[in-house]
């Protein structure tokens, strides 16, 4: 059997289990809805419907610190339109990183230690799947829910901002080129890098609770870093975002390669130091 095939079997079974656990995916769905729909829609509606307030003026002034290409895009528009543009394109950019990271960390933290806790690691340890196949399968299963939610959320977000702010900005304006780059070039390696750490933790700890706590602590700096970098990817030039993505990909690949060693049959059995 080819490696790809068993990898997919492991990933698909984990995803099927997640799908059959509404107690897991309903909170995640709520989180994504809040970040991608409710919060942006509410803020944009306020900005575009509240008449001449100082807040709107202040938000619109943020455009002044942005690159000249951005200033060019909003030249001649009123404060409300400028504020809507600033919110849509810049304020919510980090959400594209936080949502997938939160979801994938929640899945990834439990995905290996969960096998150990439930005793199902014994089945995997005695199966013909190699440790690498199990690791990659688990990685895919951790990555897919977060990234899929983000891509779907991104598309819905695009629809929401275009419908609410579009009329003020002269038509559909979102996603901008920076956002495409962020979503499909910068976010995936951030996610992979975070998961390389989370899966390693999940393989090493003895309980899902410990994995969640440790993952939270370890991934917090990564999330903050990603938050800043994702803002930079949108604020900065396309070239800078491209380089940022490339560096992240390299770091992610190194992290994943090293993380693969953490998944061993002994750890799946929970037999590292127990008789």
């Amino acid at each position: 059997m080819r490696l790809r095939s068993r990898v997919w079997v492991v990933a698909r079974t984990d995803l099927r289990q997640l799908w059959q656990s509404p107690d897991f995916w309903i909170p995640m769905l709520i989180l994504a809805t809040l970040f991608f729909v409710v919060a942006p829609a509410g803020l944009l509606w306020l900005v575009t419907h509240v008449q001449s307030t100082s807040v709107v003026a202040k938000i619109s002034n943020t455009i002044d610190v942005l690159p000249s290409s951005t200033k060019h895009a909003v030249r001649g528009l009123g404060p409300q339109a400028k504020a809507a543009y600033a919110l849509s394109v810049f304020l919510f950019a980090p959400l594209a990183v936080i949502v997938p990271m939160t979801i994938s960390t929640a899945v990834g933290a439990n995905i290996i230690v969960g096998e150990k806790e439930r005793g199902t690691g014994e089945f995997l340890a005695h199966s013909p799947a190699s440790e690498r196949e199990i690791y990659i399968g688990k990685l895919i299963a951790s990555l897919v829910p977060g990234y899929l939610t983000t891509v779907v959320g991104f598309l819905i977000y695009a629809l929401v901002v275009n419908l609410i702010a579009g009329p003020k900005l002269g038509g559909w304006f979102f996603p901008t080129g920076d956002w495409w780059l962020l979503m499909f070039w910068v976010v995936p390696p951030f996610l992979a890098l975070t998961l390389s750490v989370v899966l390693r933790l999940s393989a090493r700890v003895r309980s899902a609770a410990a994995a969640q706590q440790a993952s939270g602590l370890v991934t917090l700096p990564l999330i903050i870093l990603s938050y800043g970098q994702s803002s930079g990817a949108v604020f900065g030039s396309v070239r800078a975002a491209f380089v940022l993505g490339a560096v992240s990909w390299i770091a992610a690949l190194i992290g994943l390669h090293r993380g693969a060693r953490a998944v061993t049959r002994e750890r799946l059995l929970g037999a590292e130091s127990a008789a």
Binding site: M1, S5, R6, V9, V10, T13, R16, Q17, Q20, S21, R118, G119, T120, G121, E122, F123, A125, H126, S127, P128, A129, S130, R265, E266, L268, L269, A271, E272, S273, A274, A275
Partner: protein, 315 residues
């Protein structure tokens, strides 16, 4: 032995921190036989099973399964093994069919995997579409057995397969194992329930503290421990029964209450013993030949090894 053993462990050692899992364990499992690993909790039975599939690697010693080293040829070994672990290791959120399908796909069976056939064979077909989280312990064990044989493995490794089952379910599971063995499978079964091994085992291995105290066919081992014919004698007068101790031909005498186990140099001595006892006014209530059980063997071996065991008396 005509053919190479399916499983060969030679001087295998394995520790977990300071705890010793296996200590110079040697074991040979011939093809088409049922080998039962007996021993108390912590004796090393589960560790031995894990060594066989390569899930654990030894600190020292040699493991060969089908002539292969599971440490380097793990996938080739494991694809020929079916394992039922002490906990059924099933995915509770999935239904029975998805659990079997997962195993079928990992073992490369493809869409024609005999999922329904395996479920029917172990009487779990009616619950295939229910979530495993709602199964009883017996149903889980049956599903785990169905999963273990799905890919028609040559070697079955069963780690306490009747653990937690009621007597009827346990008996049903043991019958299934007997059928699998009759079908030519090589079976290695761990248990601490001696009655399970009785009649099922072609070979027993008594483990303690990670080493084999004794191994071989049960009848041969029993003959080795009790080379003399044995009878059980019950009497109304327990003190009078002790006369047997000094009678000619009595090799060993052990009394518990009103029943005595008497080993003789020749079974032809029995009429003389009965005559001597009745002549002394001892009223006998039972005289019966006695074949020592595996349980007696187990306790005799463990007692000899220095283990502290409560005296179980004459059965």
């Amino acid at each position: 032995m005509l053919s190479d053993p399916v499983v060969l462990l030679d001087g295998v050692r394995r520790s977990f921190g300071r705890a010793v899992g296996l200590s110079d364990l040697s074991l040979s499992v011939p093809s088409g036989t049922v080998t039962v690993l007996l021993g108390p909790n912590g004796a090393g039975k589960t560790t031995a099973v894990r060594m066989i599939t390569g899930a654990l690697s030894p600190d020292a010693g040699t493991v060969r399964v089908f002539g292969l080293d599971p440490g380097t040829d793990g996938t080739r070994v494991r694809i020929r093994c079916g394992v039922v672990s002490a906990k059924p290791a099933l995915y509770d959120r999935l239904n029975g069919r998805d659990n079997l399908r997962y195993a079928a796909e990992l073992f490369g069976l493809g869409p024609s995997a005999p999922i329904d056939d395996a479920a029917v064979r172990f009487g779990i077909d009616h619950a295939l579409d229910l979530k495993v989280g709602g199964y009883s312990t017996g149903m889980k064990t049956r599903l785990a057995l169905a999963r273990a044989v799905l890919h028609d493995p040559e070697l079955l490794l069963l780690d306490e397969p009747t653990s937690g089952l009621d007597p009827e379910s346990a008996l049903a599971v043991l019958r299934m194992i007997d059928e699998l063995a009759a079908g030519g499978k090589t079976v290695v079964m761990c248990t601490h329930l001696l009655l399970e091994a009785e009649g099922l085992a072609d070979q027993v291995v008594i483990l303690e503290s990670g080493r084999a105290l004794l191994s071989g066919p049960p009848a041969e081992l029993i003959r080795r421990y009790w080379p003399h014919p044995t009878v059980i004698i019950d009497a109304e007068d327990r003190v009078g029964l002790d006369l047997v101790h000094d009678l000619p031909g009595v090799v060993e005498y052990h009394r518990n209450g009103t029943a005595a186990r008497v080993a003789l140099d020749d079974l032809a001595r029995v009429p003389d013993i009965i005559g001597a006892l009745t002549a002394n006014g001892v009223r006998l209530t039972r005289v019966a030949p006695h074949e020592p059980s595996l349980e007696e063997l187990y306790f005799a071996v463990r007692r000899e090894s220095g283990a502290v065991i409560e005296d179980r008396g004459v059965r």
